[in-house]
């Protein structure tokens, strides 16, 4: 209760102080627009921003679907074959950790401006974290469970379907949660770098046009969408992993 109150009070105080600062001219309203101006801007750019957001989310959804399929299937294969795991794991870690922005210019060179590079780059961002966590999940499957399954006559297919896959679900979901943020990030970066459509392009144009209130409104919109997506994944996670501790 006290915690809620503290949250509400501090957010209200922050917004009020910000509004006052902008109105009284303590900060340059051209760069830091007052919250009221941002709310107003939300109305004026509403259609354009929602269109851009829809475009971005559609690309993200496609990229994410590809990344989940790739990440989970490759992760299970690499994770369960000892040689593959030993050889490839450092490459997957490197692919995950290296700033992929470095190859963005080349991707644009190859695929041009538009939807394809965005999907490609989003997929590239989301696949490796998912794969990495799935590999770890497969590696850490309790050996006893595998022995039990063998003793009870599980075929290879049954071993994967009834033991390894369910055991990997928590790591898979953790990877998917990481992956969705990276995926959205990848799509937005392409749109900002070389986009003609989508929220990233809209935001880039607003920044270049010094339209601060509109830009803040657009930023708030993407942030809200992204938080909503992650929260719904968290909810799904709780539903699917109810057998775990805590």
């Amino acid at each position: 209760m006290r915690v809620r109150a503290l949250q509400v009070v501090s957010i209200v105080a922050l917004v009020a102080a910000w509004e006052a600062a902008a109105r009284l001219g303590w900060v340059d309203a051209a760069f830091v627009p007052a919250p009221s101006a941002v709310v107003h801007a939300l109305g004026t750019i509403g259609d354009r921003a929602l269109g851009g957001l829809g475009d971005t989310l559609a690309k993200t959804a496609i990229a994410y679907a590809i990344a989940v399929v790739l990440g989970v299937s490759l992760g299970i294969v690499v994770g369960s074959v000892r040689v593959l795991r030993d050889v490839l794991n450092p490459f997957v870690i490197a692919a995950y950790g290296i700033p992929k922005i470095l190859i963005l210019p080349w991707i644009i060179l190859l695929t041009g401006f538009g939807t394809t590079p965005a999907i490609l780059y989003g997929t590239l961002h989301a696949t490796f974290p998912i794969m990495l966590l799935v590999i770890g999940g497969v590696r850490d499957v309790d050996r006893t469970l595998i022995t039990v399954a063998r003793a009870y006559g599980a075929s290879t297919w049954q071993l994967y379907w009834k033991v390894i896959l369910p055991a990997v679900v928590p790591s898979m979901l953790a990877g998917m949660r990481l992956g969705i943020v990276f995926c959205l990030l990848g799509v937005l970066v392409v749109e900002m770098f070389a986009g003609v459509r989508g929220m990233g392009a809209v935001m880039g144009a607003l920044a270049n046009g010094f339209k601060a209130p509109e830009l803040f409104a657009a930023t708030a919109l993407v942030s809200a969408a992204s938080i909503a997506i992650v929260l719904s994944l968290d909810w799904l996670n709780d539903r699917l992993s109810h057998w775990r501790d805590q």
Binding site: R2, V3, L6, Q7, S10, F31, V32, V83, D86, V87, P90, F91, G97, I98, P99, I101, L102, I103, L104, P105, W106, L109, L110, V181, F182, L184, L185, L188, V189, M192, F193, G200, M203, G204, L206, A207, F210, A212, L215, F216, T219, V222, S223, S226, I227, V230, L231
Partner: protein, 248 residues
């Protein structure tokens, strides 16, 4: 031993495949290793880009400032939220929600506010590095066993002594891991910022080479950047292992 050999073979095969594929495609779009190598030599001898050291220094400076700020802010806010439970319960979830937003959404606003110069890159690098450090402090504090704190108190330790002699060592493993992740993300943030728009720094050179379709130079510059990134991470991992020794 054999694993290392297979890895090496794999890398060689990839390089060969790259060579083969690049030779038969549009030379503007792709440069084979045999062309990149001379370009790399020219880059390293400061032949093609005499200003390379200056640009690298700009980037290094941005990274250093951004990282120093991220460490200071991350530690301060992490400890404040971790040690004062009410603060942590109130602001922790807000922080976690913000972390769920892909950081690049803040970049246009930073560009608008700070302009094309170094400050916007520093701000973005700071933003990326700050979160993992703060979250590592929070996770580290949660990991300190209350039993250890009780023992210290039973032996008459003051709160300050408990903090220095029990809490910090007990959370060292997680904390140092967070500092390393923070560095990696700060580096990424600065480079992303430079590539999205800048006049100085290694990212601006990469953009420049790409803009002129000097593909071999572009690949060479990317390789130089990668080596520097990997080197900085290796250094960080060395420090990490030293700090985490006791936990083995």
């Amino acid at each position: 031993m054999t694993v290392a050999a297979i890895r090496l073979a794999l890398v060689l095969a990839l390089v060969l495949a790259w060579e083969g594929a690049a030779r038969f495609s549009n030379p503007l779009l792709s440069a084979p290793p045999s062309v990149v190598l001379p370009a790399l030599v020219r880059v390293l001898t400061l032949d093609s880009y005499p200003e390379l050291p200056r640009h690298l220094l700009v980037t290094a400076r941005e990274i250093a400032i951004a990282y120093a700020m991220a460490v200071l802010a991350g530690l301060a806010i992490g400890f404040a939220l971790g040690l004062y439970r009410t603060l942590g319960r109130a602001y922790g979830p807000i922080l976690a929600a913000l972390y769920a937003v892909p950081a690049v959404v803040w970049y246009p606003s930073l560009m608008l506010f700070f302009g094309l110069d170094s400050s916007s890159k520093i701000a973005f690098g700071f933003l990326l590095g700050f979160f993992p450090i703060t979250l590592a402090v929070l996770a580290g504090i949660r990991q300190v066993s209350p039993q250890l704190v009780t023992v210290a108190r039973a032996f008459g330790a003051t709160p300050l002594t408990t903090f220095v002699k029990v809490m910090v060592p007990a959370m060292m493993f997680t904390l140092v891991g967070g500092l390393r992740t923070g560095l990696a993300l700060t580096v990424i943030g600065v480079i992303v910022g430079e590539i999205l728009g800048s006049r100085q720094g290694i990212g601006s050179l990469i953009n420049h080479a790409y803009g002129l379709l000097r593909t071999a130079d572009y690949v060479a510059l990317v390789l130089v950047t990668l080596v520097l990134i990997v080197a900085s991470d290796a250094l960080a991992s060395l420090v990490e292992h030293r700090a985490q020794r006791w936990s083995e």
